[in-house]
Amino acid sequence: MEQVSTNNNNQSEGLAQGEDEIPLKLKLKRAERMRKYRAMALIAPLFLFILGVFAIPIAIMMWRAIDNPEVVDNLPQTAIELSNWDGESTPTTALTTAFASDLVKAYEDKTASTVAKRLNYDVSGMRSLVTRTARKFNSTQPAMATMDDFIKADKRWADLRYWQALKRASSSLTPFYVLNAFDMKINDEGQITSVPEGQAIYTNIFWRTMWIAGVVTVGSLLIGFPIAYLLANTSSKVSNLLMFCVLLPFWTSLLVRTSAWVVLLQKNGVVNSTLINLGLINEPMTLLFARPGVYIAFLHLLVPFVVLPLYSVMTSISPAYMRAAESLGAHPAIAFVRVYLPQTLPGIGAGGILAFILAIGYYITPALIGGPQDQMLSYFIANHANSTLNWGLASALGMVLLVTTMILFSIYNRLTGASGVKMG
């Protein structure tokens, strides 16, 4: 900008005032535009990097939650015939023939097991049904197959619900996994219903995740608030020293802190033996691989995240307000609740939401410290991705976790954006 105006001054010596007006504006605009382009060029490398190495891979993964290629790709003729079938009448010979020949082909290509696994997600037992039928047809190689041939191969085919499951799985996109993540399914009549009580898993897991995160958020606020208050209201020498107690765990590796709690919370670990020596308990408590251990370890991880924004807010609160309230006759407790506490709300909100967001996403700590009843959404996402290899369901559960996180983060952003709460 500086350059632009100097150039302009040089020129204006020889130019009339009126003609000068437009070039100046233009030049300013051009310089501004150059600045903008330069800024964008600086941002572009990281932007493209994050887009390519982070955002797009996650978007592709989310796509798996509705992607349904198994039947369409491996039983192509069957998929076409299934779209013509009404789902209630006896399957036509055209359909059964197409299915038989696709099955033989899939068996030869060794893709029949992929199809069988996919169908088994919907109706259990269908894996064996499909592989058995494929094997039988492969040995007879029929040119044509009727409904009777299928029933001969396995009498379960007489039950239309297996054909309906096949039809449900034959579209290229499916709501199946997303519904599954909410413990819902499309029943044989084509309506969305809840799965039977005994099979409902994931809504429980979701609420368990929210509950654990909620408990530790409230807990870390209760522990963090007095710490932040103490830090904000002592001499800077003392507060620097005490701040160290908050920052050391903050910077210490998550694995180190988790391993510390595994050691401390063991049956004959430091916590139990200390409590027994003090005479507070007689029998060692079960803390590890149980809920109390998870709460304790989570609190230890999250308190620093709550203390930092609270501290930032509290240092900017003038002590004059409290003094004014007390000098006007308010009881200190009332002055605190009515005058001080409301001023810390942005910090409580920011710290609380941050703790909650972090808590719902933790994977390592509950995996190492919790028992089977303490595992949260992250564990089931990893489990379906690694062990059961049900990637559609892993992605659908991931979508639930990601959307929840994004909603919370937008609230967090609004809170911190408006009040200027800083981390650290």
Binding site: A41, V53, N233, L254, L264, N386, L401, L402
Partner: protein
């Protein structure tokens, strides 16, 4: 915080109760970390007090075992490579973000910090599928790229914060004196924002050095890192050797903390209008 000489009995009780609660909270934060350190010097393999004599055997086990040494090496390689990339890309982006306003800046900013917010399991799974497609699973390149993405937001945030206190006229002065933009950056801007850049780099390094979920999904046996090695140790059989590794990492955290504190003070001094 101090007790006024005219405080009533109730106020005194409340004051000491408060100190106990806050002090208890602080102890809860540091004690677990301090308590496990002596266990790494235990003579026997028990992880409880009292200690059976003093011994450095667990440290010897860590430094003499090929697995642990390789894990430490891998963590250092992946950590420094990804911190370097994250620092270069992140500093450039922070310069761009503070220099001009344009439409969609908020959205761009949100994308740049997203790796910090997305739950790590989701990032790890997305990267695992993606790397499977392009053959980057079980490679150093894959892990370095992944950790660069996870560390870069911290660089963007710290450098942006430092640039907020930066006087832009200095840049104009330098360019009006004929320096090209690259020279302006290295001769004028970088020396002044260096504390922010270095703490961003340390943040990125610590992020990679601490990361285990992406490693669990995407690394092969060749790329085992220190946290991964600890994860397996805790899961299978926790020995004082794990505590020795933990103690080394705590010492590392202390060093990091001191450097950051030094940088913070320096940057405060530089930016204060004296």
């Amino acid at each position: 915080m101090k007790l006024q000489p005219y405080a009533t009995f109730g106020q005194k009780v409340w004051f000491y109760t408060f100190l106990t609660i806050a002090g208890g909270g602080l102890l809860f934060l540091v004690l677990p970390i301090l308590v496990i350190m002596p266990l790494s010097f235990n003579g026997s393999s028990f992880l409880s007090y009292p200690l059976d004599g003093f011994s450095l055997r667990w440290y010897a086990e860590v430094f003499q075992s090929e697995v642990w040494v390789r894990a430490i090496k891998n963590s250092l390689i992946i950590g420094s490579a990804s911190a370097f990339l994250a620092t270069v890309l992140g500093t450039m982006a922070a310069m761009g973000l503070t220099q001009a306003n344009f439409r969609g800046k908020g959205a761009v900013n949100a994308l740049l910090v997203s790796p910090m917010i997305v739950p790590i399991v989701i990032s790890a799974l997305g990267l695992y599928f993606f790397f499977a497609e392009i053959g980057l699973n079980a490679t150093y390149t894959g892990l370095i790229l992944a950790h660069t993405a996870l560390g870069a937001p911290f660089v963007v945030i710290t450098v942006t914060a430092t640039l907020q206190g930066f006087d832009n006229t200095l840049m104009r002065a330098a360019s009006s004196l004929g320096a090209n933009p690259v020279k302006v950056f290295f001769a004028v801007v970088l020396p002044l924002i260096l504390p922010g850049v270095v703490s961003g780099a340390l943040f990125a390094f610590a992020t990679s050095f601490d990361e285990v979920v992406v490693v669990l999904f995407s690394a092969g046996p060749e790329q085992r890192t220190l946290p991964r090695q600890m994860f397996d140790g805790i899961k299978e059989n926790i020995t004082p050797a794990i505590m020795a590794a933990a103690t080394l990492l705590i010492a590392f955290a202390l060093a990091l903390l001191s450097v950051l504190e030094y940088l913070r003070r320096r940057s405060e001094k530089l930016n204060s209008p004296s």
